[in-house]
Amino acid sequence: MHLFSILISQIINGLQSGAIYALVALGYSMVYGIILLLNFAHGDIIMVGAYAVWFSMAHLGLHPIPSMLLAVAASTLLGVLIEKLAYTPLRSAPRLSLLITAIGVSFLLENSFQLIFGAGAQTVPNLISGPSLQVGSVTVSFSAMLTILVSVICMAGLTFLVQKTKLGKAMRAVSENMSAAQLMGISLNRTISFTFAMGSALAGVGSVLYLCTYGQASPTMGSMLGLKAFVAAVLGGIGSLPGAMIGGFAIGLTEALVSAAGLSVWKDGAVFAILIVVLLVKPTGLLGKPMVEKV
């Protein structure tokens, strides 16, 4: 029974971190789906979001709720800004140039935050507290419930947006055939910016949820989180939104179960082992479609 309750708690931990990975993986997949870019600066948007929470609370003296909203707004704006300044000028450049630029943007963000705020971690006071849930011998923390609930709501919202709204359909049209989409009267610039805005807003929500649990922001926090979310996106099939959600939860659960087995030192290794296996066995991921070269 004791072992069983440890397992259940670890699964809940896994779902909690998995929910954050899933939110971040969605941003990776959306951007890849539309401009075929692995946006390696995506993880750093989370970092900037976390610093926005910390800065508004510690320096502006704001209440947690407006601080969190501000963080989501800042992440969204940053995502669109990066796209406009760094990626739009390279739209007809080779894809490798775009990828290298994304890595450059990532370094720029990490290093400029180290320069401005120092390399150490900033502690964010408890953002939201509430009662935890006791089920038998298993305790579910408030932050775990909140993280899972908020993520699921965000994912449902995104799914609705992409499947049912005009803008969402335009996103799908652009991701499938850019020139045909333009011939329909769809503006590429607007649709691509909107995609970055949505992906970055989800990263902003991810940063807030991350802080609710871990309470710390550091300039390099986004790189490992971003890489694992990238693995999640690849596992699910990059470009597929349901895939990114499944991949995120799968990565979170893997980490938690590896830790539960007493191998917590190996949990990062396990995640990257998944990447290698996926790339060797099924490079298109669980739900990905094989890429057909457009002529």
Partner: protein
């Protein structure tokens, strides 16, 4: 004043001079066809008119307004629609979603009447409205591509090789639809490799050879023209 007036366009792919000083016009109510062999530059011309490619020289006027260099998505609202080469329907979207994309620039209130009109024209699409476009046959995809272009109520519809890869019976059907569209008041610019069919329905035609216009005339004139016969109509 011609509805579409293309004057002296020169289009390059990198160093390759693909279109060499081409001029032509389409008058309101006409069916005009550009015929020529594979690689003559027919599609390049259409892509240049619709803004996907740009000419280094000359002008492209649509209803008196110079549209050269304008972003492609701005032209739909002006009444220009294109049925792209190889159909280019959105394969992972449903038939109805594809048609909705065709009406992207129109207000939502116009969607239902436009859909009804297209479904009336293409009853097959109505049967398959919830089906993903990738599951349609080639002929059905061509109908979808045409229906999608019609959703914006274009004044000028440009079709890029609508007969490509279709069985003869479907080609007849597609050309029948083109004539119906024309009768209902849509001006048509048709690019075709199937010169026989295209000249048969066209009011006027232009013959394109390696990026240059080599002759022009009414459909019947070109059908009788010896050099056209030799080159495109199998003697």
């Amino acid at each position: 004043m011609a509805m579409l007036e293309v004057k002296d366009i020169n289009v390059y792919y990198g160093a390759i001079h693909a279109i060499k000083g081409v001029s032509f016009e389409v008058n309101e109510g006409e069916i005009v066809t550009l015929i020529g062999a594979n690689g003559a530059g027919k599609s390049t011309i259409l892509k240049t008119v619709s803004g996907l490619l740009h000419s280094r020289t000359g002008s492209i006027a649509f209803q008196g307004e110079n549209i050269a260099g304008m972003a492609p998505h701005k032209l739909v609202g002006k009444g220009l629609a294109q049925v792209p080469e190889g159909r280019a329907v959105f394969l992972r979207m449903t038939v109805e979603e594809n048609l909705e994309m065709g009406a992207y620039t129109r207000p939502n209130s116009e969607l239902a009447p436009h859909l009804d009109r297209v479904f009336e024209q293409f009853p097959r699409l109505k049967e398959r409205r919830k089906q993903v476009a990738g599951t349609l046959s080639g002929g059905e995809q061509q109908m979808l591509a045409m229906g999608r272009a019609l959703m914006s109520s274009p004044k000028l519809m440009m079709l890029d090789e609508p007969s490509m890869g279709l069985a003869p019976i479907l080609v007849d059907q597609i050309f029948g639809i083109i004539q119906t569209l024309h009768q209902s008041g849509t001006t048509i610019l048709l690019v075709e490799q199937n010169a026989q069919m295209a000249l048969g329905v066209a009011d006027r035609g232009y013959v394109l050879e390696t990026g240059k216009l080599v002759s022009s005339g009414t459909g019947t004139e070109l059908l009788k023209d010896e050099s056209v016969k030799k080159a495109y109509l199998g003697g």
